[in-house]
């Protein structure tokens, strides 16, 4: 039954909706409601009950991205994503961050991580939330977002790099205070 599937994954869906809506609870609730009604309407098309979780998240993320696109009145700009050559170049130019994050306590990181994800561009925050927070695989996220796997990888790389940069600020402040 649809309600049972929804109830089983509701907390995770709500958490993802909250990240996609940049921490706005009313927007997250609205998104979740919209996505749930769409899912309910299409429930008959779900052939494999084992794929229910991935299927619900697909509907949630696509509903969100459709809203973002309609609000910005444009298709997502393809140039924002890297082609294979540009991605290889970005990967090759990666260098080990100067500031280690392990100086921060897990509590300090937890306090900042939600804000850091909320500050990412929507397409990056969707990718990192689905892969790193919810633990979906690159291939599953590619299906959810209707993207090539390579694009998912490049978005994940950009997202993690940006998150790393955001978290490096408090880590550097902490090290600076400690050295005084």
């Amino acid at each position: 039954m649809f309600e049972e599937l929804l109830a089983e994954h509701l907390d995770a869906l709500y958490g993802t909706a909250l990240r996609l809506c940049r921490g706005s609870a009313p927007d997250a609730e609205d998104l979740l409601q919209d996505a749930s009604l769409r899912a309910f309407g299409a429930f008959h098309s779900l052939r494999d009950p084992g794929a229910g979780r991935s299927w619900l998240f697909t509907i949630l993320t696509r509903t969100h991205l459709n809203r973002v696109r309609s609000h910005t009145r444009r298709r997502e700009t393809p140039e924002a994503d890297m082609d294979a050559a540009a991605f290889e170049e970005a990967l090759a130019s990666w260098s080990r961050p100067a500031t280690p994050l392990d100086v921060l306590e897990s509590r300090q990181i937890s306090e900042r991580i939600a804000t850091a994800i909320d500050n990412l561009p929507p397409e990056l925050s969707a990718t990192v939330t689905l892969m790193d927070v919810e633990g979906f695989h690159q291939r599953e996220v590619a299906v959810m977002l209707d993207l090539p796997e390579g694009t998912v990888a490049s978005r994940l790389f950009r997202a993690r790099r940006l998150l790393r940069e955001q978290l490096a600020v408090p880590a550097a402040e902490f090290l600076s205070r400690r050295s005084r």
Partner: protein, 269 residues
Amino acid sequence: MSSHCGRARRLLWPDDNPREATAEVVGAQAHVAECATCQDFLREMDATGSLVRGAAPRVTAPPCARERLFRSVARARIGPSVERRGPRWGILAMAACLLVAVGVWRFTVWNPKPDPIAAFADDHLRAASGPGVRTTEASTAAGWLRERLPFAIQVPRFPSGQVEGARLCLMAGMHGGVVEYRLGDHELSYFVVPAEGKAPGSAVDIRSAARAGFRVVAWREGDLMHALVADLPEATLRELARICIEQSMGVSPAGTGSTLPARPRLFTM
């Protein structure tokens, strides 16, 4: 760092999918085995992923949001079947739904025999709502409820009654608020829950029933259903109900004496 680094990283990262061992992939793996920078890259990326996964807050959908969501799905479940049947069947279906809704309302409010499956979800929601707040301050109880419910509850003041606390409740799958009182040796609960369907006319009907040694009086005001439950005589509860109604109308702030322009129509179920 060689020009092979970028290609090897693109081919092998993120490494959560099984890969076909093409010559390109095998070459990339051989490169990484020799390249300390690429190994460093993979380690750092894994660490960042683990950090995000471990630190990201795990949230629980608020009970009110759950309730609204499942209510809208329930509406959607009924909706399309009515639309498909054309106008004449639509009217009949609507009338049938109305009869069922009235029946369900009477069944659930006055003859509570919960569906055992729904009871699991209800109990989970009830636990998620927490035990409530213990307070003797009416304003604290009202504030606590206001933060958790999509509607305001005016906490009535009863002569010789003392507020003891507030909590959330589930009535027929809907979240509402309860204010708990002590009246001498008696415990009194004042329930306010959303009412289903369109509100009746302006007259306030106070209904009464007895269950398991407790007396219940209930009435509807606008979109809200109110009820008082206690092991008190029916006449006393009706009088307390009238005080609630007066105070919600702002007629008698102290809750002493009846100043309603017309007495509510009373009947017993």
